[in-house]
C-alpha cells in the first residue's frame, strides 16, 4: 500500500519566516505534487516534479519554491510566509506520468501564518 507522509499535521509560523513543508513517499514513485486546499476553491496545484531534480510550476506557484534532491522526498518552501498562505497543504505522488495512474495523497499539513 502506498504511503505518503507529510512531516507535520499542524504548523504555526509568523509572517516573513521561511517555511519548509516536507513530504516522503515509500513506493518509488516518479511524480510528486504539492497542492493547497482552500474552502470554495478545491485543490490547486502549486508545483510538481516528474523526476529527481525536475520541477514544473503549477497554477499558483507565486511565493513558493520546491526541492527534489531524492526520489522519495519533495519539499515545499515558502520563501517569506504571508497570511494569505494560511491553508491546508497536500502532497501527492504518482507512479508514472500517464493519465490513468491515480495520485496518492498524504494527510495534509494545516499551516497557519500569523
Amino acid at each position: 500500500d502506498v504511503k505518503v507522509t507529510q512531516s507535520s499535521r499542524y504548523l504555526v509560523k509568523r509572517t516573513g519566516e521561511k517555511v519548509f513543508l516536507e513530504c516522503v513517499q515509500d513506493m518509488d514513485h516518479e511524480n510528486m505534487f504539492w497542492y493547497r486546499q482552500d474552502p470554495g476553491l478545491g485543490l490547486r496545484l502549486i508545483y510538481f516534479s516528474y523526476d529527481v531534480k525536475m520541477k514544473e510550476k503549477g497554477d499558483i506557484p507565486e511565493g513558493y519554491s520546491v526541492s527534489r534532491e531524492k526520489k522519495e522526498r519533495f519539499s515545499l518552501i515558502l520563501e517569506s510566509a504571508s497570511t494569505n498562505q494560511t491553508s491546508m497543504y497536500l502532497c501527492a505522488s504518482r507512479r508514472t506520468g500517464f493519465s490513468n495512474q491515480p495520485q496518492h495523497f498524504g494527510d495534509g499539513t494545516r499551516l497557519s501564518i500569523l
Binding site: V4, R9, N31, Y35, G40, L41, G42, L43, R44, L45, F48, Y50, E56, G58, L90, A92, G97, F98, S99, N100, P102, Q103, H104, F105, G106, D107, G108
Partner: protein, 115 residues
C-alpha cells in the same frame, strides 16, 4: 477560469437511496477523469476513474458516467451509506503541452448521508 466545475457545494441524501454527484468540464483535451473522496483531517483517497473513450465505469456501489458531448460526468452511489459522508472531488487529467498529465480538480461537493 475554472475548467472543472462542481456546481453543488453540498448534497444530503437518505441512507439507502441513490447519491448523484455532478461535474462539468470545459476542455475537450482531458483524457481521463477521476473521483476522490476526502474525510476531514485526511488526504483525498482515490475512488473511481474513467477513460474519455468510455461512457461508464462501475466498481461495487460506485458508478461513473461520462457524457463527452455535454462535457459532463456524474458519480452514482447506490445504496448510499452513512460512511459515504465526505467531500467528493472530481478531477480531470490534462496532458498539457509537455505530456506530464496534471490533474485539474473541481471545488468539491460535501455529501451527507442521513441515517
Amino acid at each position: 477560469d475554472q475548467q472543472v466545475k462542481q456546481n453543488s457545494p453540498s448534497l444530503s441524501v437518505q441512507e439507502g437511496r441513490i447519491s448523484i454527484l455532478n461535474c462539468d468540464y470545459t476542455n475537450s483535451m482531458f483524457d481521463y477523469f477521476l473521483w476522490y473522496k476526502k474525510y476531514p483531517a485526511e488526504g483525498p483517497t482515490f475512488l473511481i476513474s474513467i477513460s474519455s473513450i468510455k461512457d461508464k465505469n462501475e466498481d461495487g456501489r460506485f458508478t461513473v458516467f461520462l457524457n463527452k458531448s455535454a462535457k459532463h460526468l456524474s458519480l452514482h452511489i447506490v445504496p448510499s451509506q452513512p460512511g459515504d459522508s465526505a467531500v467528493y472531488f472530481c478531477a480531470a487529467s490534462d496532458p498539457g503541452t509537455s505530456g506530464t498529465y496534471k490533474y485539474i480538480f473541481g471545488t468539491g461537493t460535501r455529501l451527507k448521508v442521513l441515517a
